[in-house]
């Protein structure tokens, strides 16, 4: 039984209770629900987290932004080719500090999902992001990115207009930024399409978010020629916040409420905001060149490898 089945069962149980009204059997049922919550719904497999990260009711970037910032102004377009609606960009103040906010946006409805291309950016989306990052650099403004994408869109137009080139350019230019860059993986962090907004000074991640080099389905179909083995792949690939914190790839895990972010969005937003602002004030002490140095030094260390030492001294770097 995965988390979605459990969630459904919980709703049935709770409905039963409210149907009963104020009878004696209620207390028994309440007890049962509490037991179910405690024993079943808190044990999440990697696959459960994949399901939660993609949950249709999970709050989207725009929901976070609207909670964080009452004065968010959206800026459109890459000044080159188009305005990619799968990436939202603009400025907004969070607790009095003006941030450049750049976020991948999935839709909450079918229509919005089509408009947002299911959160899968084209090159013009990444170029809009880069334009706004350079703007932030000009005004010495911190950058907040929210990551929630299945990946960069693999289509004709995207390839024609240089998807790989756009992502690479972002990575190169992000390494040059001298303002604080904070990235938060709020849902799916899919591949290079996520990393193109994720080269940050600090990477935060929601408890049930995932971040991976390809989708578990993709992995399963390559390795086992069977995409239904995705749950197994999810386990093997180490894509949860806890796994990535172990690897030191991310810096902070933001706890989600019981049942996942959508069980209590406000609480999720509040915790996320707190974590962002703590991180901001932590980074704010650094000089501009130090911010650039710190961001690059961090990435420079990513890798899991060993180098043969001829004096038989082994050095492992993780």
């Amino acid at each position: 039984m995965n988390i979605l089945d459990k969630e459904r069962k919980l709703l049935v149980l709770e409905k039963n209770i409210s149907d009963l009204g104020d009878t004696e059997s209620v207390s028994k049922l309440v007890e049962e629900v509490e037991k179910f919550k405690k024993n079943e719904m808190t044990k999440l497999s990697s696959w459960d987290k994949v399901l939660l990260a993609r949950h249709p009711k999970r709050p989207k970037s725009r929901d976070f932004i609207d909670y964080f910032s009452k004065d968010f102004i959206e800026f459109h377009g890459d000044r080159l080719f188009g305005d990619d609606k799968s990436i939202i960009g603009g400025i907004g103040s969070i607790d009095g500090i003006v941030f450049t906010i750049i976020a991948q946006q999935k839709g909450s409805t079918v229509e919005e999902n089509i408009k947002r291309n299911f959160g899968m950016p084209h090159p013009e989306g990444y170029r809009k992001a880069l334009r706004l990052m350079k703007q932030a650099e000009k005004f010495n403004r911190p950058i907040l990115t929210l990551i929630d994408t299945p990946g960069a869109y693999p289509g004709l137009g995207a390839e024609e207009r240089g998807q790989g080139f756009a992502i690479a350019e972002n990575l190169k230019e992000m390494s040059r930024l001298t303002v604080p860059v904070i990235a938060v993986v709020i849902g799916e962090g899919g591949s290079g399409g996520a990393l193109a907004l994720g080269f940050a000074n600090e990477v935060l991640m929601l408890e049930n978010a995932i971040y991976s080099i390809l989708s578990p389905e993709g992995y399963a179909s390559i390795v086992w020629k069977d995409s239904t083995k995705a749950p197994l792949a999810a386990e093997q690939m180490k894509i949860t916040a806890a796994d990535l914190k172990d690897f030191d790839i991310i810096d902070e895990i933001i706890q989600e409420p019981f049942g996942g972010a959508h069980f209590n969005p406000e609480l999720t937003f509040e915790k996320t905001k707190k974590c962002i602002m703590d991180t901001y004030y932590h980074l704010n002490g650094l000089a501009r060149t130090e911010l650039q140095y710190q961001r690059n030094a961090k990435v420079r260390n990513f890798g899991f490898l060993q180098r043969f030492n001829y004096d038989n001294l082994k050095e492992v770097r993780k």
Binding site: K172, F308, Y310
Partner: protein, 294 residues
């Protein structure tokens, strides 16, 4: 891996002139490869059976149709650099298995044996008609040239060594993308290598990226696309998403020539598509014309 790859693998006795030595290296790797006289193989493009030795003498280009065979890294180095000028750097990295994928080590060992390489990428100092540079070459015969932690590390080191030596960088790319088996670590190599390019570039040094067949995925979306000058060999597959993934997404066949060098040049992403026979000359010319800044 195509047939020609396997064939070239078998070369064991052919004399070669590449020194794979540097001051820190006590590891001497067996690189004597040979192709028996009279070995024939099928050209992947025109399908003709051709004498491999003749094709190799023809700059690894099919005599019948002009197809550019995928070259091994060591052959590329031999082909592009001046005789005896190559000094390999960054020897001795060991690929680990961070996700404990069953069989990953064995696979790596198999490729090591087949290719006489540590990993899918080698780099070092070299000269092209006397012009010094730091050269890096990916090898698609080593696990499709996929980029894991070791490849990413060595690419980063390439740029760092070039900064130390105040030299331009030339990299020949050939990659199927990120190395799945190393999960998130592979992904992070994109940021690491791009940052290395940025640093070298900020200091005013030249970086020439030469895209060869195939250059896709995470390599395309990082250092491969970041050359000051980007050259491609004819008809190389170059793209972020693989053609099969795109076809599945859009549910139709891709047009002829899509994601090929010439197409990408038309779309503004490649400075020039250059035939392999002219490559060394052109690279020399580019290095020469940028010498003032070194």
């Amino acid at each position: 891996m195509n047939k020609i790859g396997e064939t070239i693998n078998k070369r064991k006795k052919l004399k070669h002139n590449i020194r794979l030595m540097n001051e820190e290296s006590r590891v001497n790797r067996e690189l004597d490869l040979d192709i028996p006289e009279g070995l024939y193989d099928k050209c992947p493009s025109c399908g003709k059976l051709t004498n491999m030795k003749l094709n190799i003498e023809n700059d690894y280009i099919c005599k019948s149709c002009g197809y550019h065979f995928r070259m091994r890294a060591i052959d590329r180095i031999k082909y592009i650099l001046d005789e005896d000028s190559f000094v390999e750097k960054g020897i001795g990295y060991i690929t680990l298995n961070p996700l404990y994928i069953e069989g990953y080590e064995a696979k790596i060992n198999k490729y090591k044996k087949e290719t006489s390489l540590d990993e899918a990428y080698i780099y070092g100092f070299g000269q092209i008609y006397g012009e010094p540079c730091i050269i890096g070459v990916m090898d698609s015969h080593f696990m499709m040239g996929s980029m894991g932690s070791v490849v990413g590390e060595k690419v980063a080191k390439t740029f760092e060594y070039a900064i130390y030596k105040k030299l331009p960088v030339i990299i020949f790319t050939a990659s199927g993308g990120a190395r799945m088996q190393e999960g998130i670590f592979s992904l992070m190599q994109m940021a690491k290598t791009s940052a290395a390019v940025a640093k070298h570039s900020s200091l005013g040094y030249l970086y020439v990226s030469v895209l060869t067949d195939p250059t896709t995925g995470g390599v395309t979306a990082s250092f491969a696309s970041l050359g000051d000058i980007i050259i491609a060999e004819p008809n190389a597959l170059i793209g972020f998403a693989g053609p099969r993934v795109i076809e599945q997404t859009i549910n139709q066949k891709l047009p002829e020539g899509f994601q090929r060098s010439e197409f990408l040049m038309e779309k503004g992403f490649i400075d020039q598509v250059i035939n392999r026979k002219d490559l060394k000359k052109t690279l020399h010319q580019i290095l020469h014309m940028h010498r003032r800044t070194i």
